[in-house]
């Protein structure tokens, strides 16, 4: 068997030459050189002759009669699965565009989350009733005085808090935090309009706040500092907070006005004001992600 394979291996270049020669694909010079070889090599000439016979015989193979007619039934144009794919393709195109747009929205929303643009926009997520917990200019002045009163225990090296402080406590302080001192006059009309729903800011009396601040654990302090850092752009007295070891209610500034307000029963915080409430951009990102996957799969199946 091995000796029979030898012609295929040894004459591989000749095979291409023979094929090109028979098909008239050689240049004039190549053809002349090859014909000189043919005259000198009877074995090569025999190969060429047999190959020519092969090609001639193959081209004379009779065409096979058709076993049947291959025309399609005219009803095929009414069959959706057999219809030319124009309509499906256009629908698939729209689905893909929708998927691409949803993906873009998802990327933008995640970009907002990653870049940190979310921090300034977190403040508006609070309900207007809390966001506009503002005090009059006179109250603002009082609040500055209250700040000093509240921070005094902390500055005096109060003992570490017990840690039993409710989790809502920092949020209460944040909700009590109205606009900064500079913003207070602008926010006052809104506050006057929505004064009735705001029962919470007055919930924490000054003494209670100071005591709880004094009881705050170091961990709680660090958490509060982190929260303050995030709210720094909207807080008017940021530099004070950095310097103060006291808890957040005393650091936010105008928010501590509430310490001077009379006691009122504490009310639970609205859900939107909870610290772990999902930001809007994450909701948008989630919806966009689901849409992108859903539309992409639909578009892929339609194509």
């Amino acid at each position: 068997m091995g000796n029979r394979r030898s012609p295929l291996i040894n004459h591989q270049p000749d095979d291409e030459l023979i094929s090109a020669y028979l098909d008239g694909r050689l240049t004039d010079s190549e053809q002349a050189a090859f014909e000189m070889r043919l005259r000198a090599d009877p074995a090569l000439k025999r190969q060429v002759d047999v190959t020519r016979l092969l090609v001639t015989a193959a081209r004379s193979l009779p065409p096979q009669p058709l076993p049947r007619d291959f025309t399609l039934p005219l009803s095929i144009s009414a069959m959706p699965e057999a219809r030319p794919r124009a309509r499906a393709s256009s629908l698939a195109w729209f689905l893909r565009v929708g998927s691409a747009l949803a993906t873009a929205v998802f990327v933008i929303a995640m970009g907002i989350d990653l870049v940190g643009l979310s921090a300034p926009s977190a403040q508006p997520s609070l309900p207007a009733t809390q966001a506009t917990v503002a005090v009059s200019p006179a109250q603002s002045e009082d609040s500055i005085a209250a700040d000093a009163a509240i921070t005094t225990p902390a500055e005096s090296g109060a003992p570490a808090p017990s840690g039993a402080m409710p989790e809502a406590q920092p949020m209460q302080a944040m909700q009590q935090a109205g606009p900064s001192v500079a913003e207070a006059p602008e926010a006052q009309p809104a506050a006057s309009e929505q004064a009735e729903p705001m029962t919470m800011p007055q919930a924490v009396p000054q003494v209670t706040t100071a005591q709880r601040a004094a009881e705050a654990t170091p961990d709680m302090k660090s958490m509060q500092r982190n929260a303050e850092t995030e709210r720094a752009p909207s807080a008017g007295l940021v530099t004070q907070t950095d310097a103060l070891p006291a808890p957040q209610p005393a650091e936010i500034g105008p928010s501590s006005d509430v310490a001077t307000l009379p006691d009122e029963p504490e009310t639970p915080l609205p859900l939107a004001a909870q610290p772990d409430a999902t930001p809007w951009w994450r909701i948008v990102a989630g919806v966009a992600f689901v849409l992108a996957v859903f539309l992409g799969i639909l578009g892929w199946r339609r194509s």
Binding site: D15, Q47, T51, L53, L54, A58, L61, F70, P84, R85
Partner: protein, 198 residues
């Protein structure tokens, strides 16, 4: 209606126009399928499948030679059917592989089996039938190239367009296919005319 108008009408979903194209090419399409597949039943199935696929995909036809496009469709359908057949060991053409290395052994095995009864082969088959039969033992890509070139008489350029490959690949596949068939004929001198016998 000329071919271009028929194609445009078919692209709009006109089944009449597409059937006019089918009538023009069905004989050539079926014969290509028959020479590649080797039997009428498989060729018929592949031809029908190719025309149905062509109807569904006719909007993707962007001009050029419709003949090349429809022959490309049927050639691909043949390759798909041969691959499917290879996964079924019980079929008659079991052992035909897609790659050349595995096909070399198949072709040699075919030659050996043919040599076992040269007299019977000479009696029952003429030269053309022997060539057609031997071609079925070629690798599918070489077989399709041989059928398109030497049976259908198409040029290298047309074959390259149909098989979506380069001109050099077409030349190489064709020369290898011819060499294998030629060696087969040289080992079967009784199949050759007297002047070719030594």
């Amino acid at each position: 209606m000329d071919e271009a108008a028929l194609i445009k009408a078919a692209q709009r979903g006109d089944a009449h126009a597409f059937n006019a194209l089918v009538l023009s090419y069905q004989s050539q399409v079926y014969n290509v399928a028959y020479r590649i597949m080797g039997d009428a039943a498989s060729a018929s199935d592949v031809t029908q499948e190719a025309f149905l696929s062509a109807y569904k995909a006719i909007r993707s036809f962007r001009g050029g030679s419709f003949k090349s496009w429809i022959l490309r469709t049927v050639t691909n359908a043949c390759f798909d059917a041969l691959r499917y057949r290879k996964r079924r060991p019980a079929t008659s053409l079991d052992g035909l592989g897609a790659d050349d290395d595995s096909q070399e052994g198949d072709f040699e095995a075919f030659l050996a089996s043919s040599e076992e009864s040269p007299a019977d082969a000479a009696e029952r088959a003429e030269l053309r039938d022997a060539i057609a039969r031997a071609a079925l033992a070629l690798p599918p890509d070489q077989r399709a190239t041989f059928v398109l070139s030497d049976v259908q008489g198409m040029t290298y350029e047309e074959i390259a367009d149909i098989m979506q490959t380069s001109l050099g690949t077409v030349k190489s596949r064709l020369s290898r296919a011819r060499a294998k068939l030629r060696d087969y004929l040289l080992r079967q001198p009784e199949l050759l005319p007297d002047e070719f016998r030594q």
